[in-house]
Assembly symmetry: C2
């Protein structure tokens, strides 16, 4: 569906230092190490489960049919950012190990430390564990792809999905994911970032407006799908 997962309500950006701590600045309390990186085909099982959780949240599971095989066959087919692209959000109670495989020419992973007041229990940690970095788990994702404005004569990004698992919400991670996309758009000289929100989701709308977005009141989505789409098979 669209970027429909209610994001955390507006909260101040985490004041944690950026990057990994050096030996003199080990965070106190309960640090949550977070990382945004480009997803790979190996992440498809986690991504499929995250999308399913989003469908549950949106009460739209009747529209959810995507299998791991569907996703694997359509994603990761082109250079990141030039077609469907996924940033995966991972969190860990320990610093991430350096993984040179993740530093592609296209994108350097973004790391942040969030200092929590309390330790956090993830009831689904086993399901979403990263097989390589043992302590890290997938906590959310954002899927986006280029769109095009003929008025600007420039591409932009359209954010199809933004999702953070329940136990990691309200910690600035949704903002971190969306900021990563907007920042990438600026970096590429793109003109816009767009997504959609449900009109009754006032928390989400407030959150997005505080991030600098305008909500356009007059436009409505038109969609042809299912049998209505199929009816065009021999139309031309």
């Amino acid at each position: 569906m669209a970027a429909a997962a209610p994001p955390p309500p507006p909260t101040p950006a985490p004041s944690a230092p950026t990057g990994l701590p050096d030996s003199d600045s080990t965070p106190v309390g309960h640090p949550l190490f977070s990382r945004i990186r480009l997803a790979t085909p190996l992440d498809v099982p986690h991504i499929q489960k995250l999308i399913h959780q989003m469908a549950i949240l949106e009460k739209l599971t009747h529209l959810f049919t995507a299998t791991e095989s569907d996703l694997a066959s359509n994603l990761f087919k082109s250079t990141p950012f030039h077609s469907f692209t996924i940033f995966l959000l991972e969190v860990s109670s320990r610093p991430f190990e350096k993984d040179s495989n993740l530093h592609s020419q296209n994108f350097t992973p973004i790391e942040r430390i969030i200092n929590l007041d309390h330790s956090l229990i993830d009831p689904e940690a086993e399901t979403f564990r990263n097989g390589i970095n043992g302590d890290a788990v997938a906590a959310g994702f954002v899927l986006f792809f280029p769109n095009y404005s003929t008025f600007l004569g420039k591409p932009g990004f359209y954010v199809e999905d933004l999702f953070v698992r329940e136990c990691y919400r309200r910690k600035g991670l949704g903002k971190m994911l969306l900021s990563a996309v907007v920042s990438q758009a600026v970096k590429m000289g793109y003109g816009r970032v767009e997504w959609v929100v449900l009109d009754w989701n006032v928390n989400a709308i407030k959150f997005y407006e505080e991030m600098g977005a305008n909500v356009l009141p007059e436009w409505r989505i038109c969609r042809i799908t299912g049998p209505a789409l199929e009816a065009y098979r021999d139309a031309i």
Copy 2:
């Protein structure tokens, strides 16, 4: 902007025969030969003017900044249908000459004959004349690109712009352009075609619904652009 040009109000699909007439079925009256083909870089001057006319129609010329150079630098960079793609609509009072250059592996031009009751005067014929097929003029276009539904696990098409010049409206040409995109989506196994419409444009909404589209009432577009976008330059 979006697919905002008010399309012709609902009219029956033209009952003209498909394809070019053979010698025994030369249309009577005032035939308008129409053709949809993939646009090429040579079409950029016409496309830029068509977009400008759309901006005027939408009273959004203050948002229109795209130059021919902007368009040329961003379009036609990948295989048709896998990124930003333009179908150009051309019309002529004479049959189109066969042009093997237009028959790419990706798309065979679509031709239709529309029988008009009266001859048609195009006050901008000189501006939009095709330099190769002397009598043909550019009459409209549709710009679309792939989007992705995580629920379906399939790509679809998003229609950014659909435009037909004023003197060619209400003849089924807008429907022909949109049908060409939907038909292409079916052919590629895609799951949806989407676009947006202004909520007060009741003629357009009725037209789209008659073409099989659902108008989704609850979703609103969020957009970050301009200085708000630029503010993310050093955000990450």
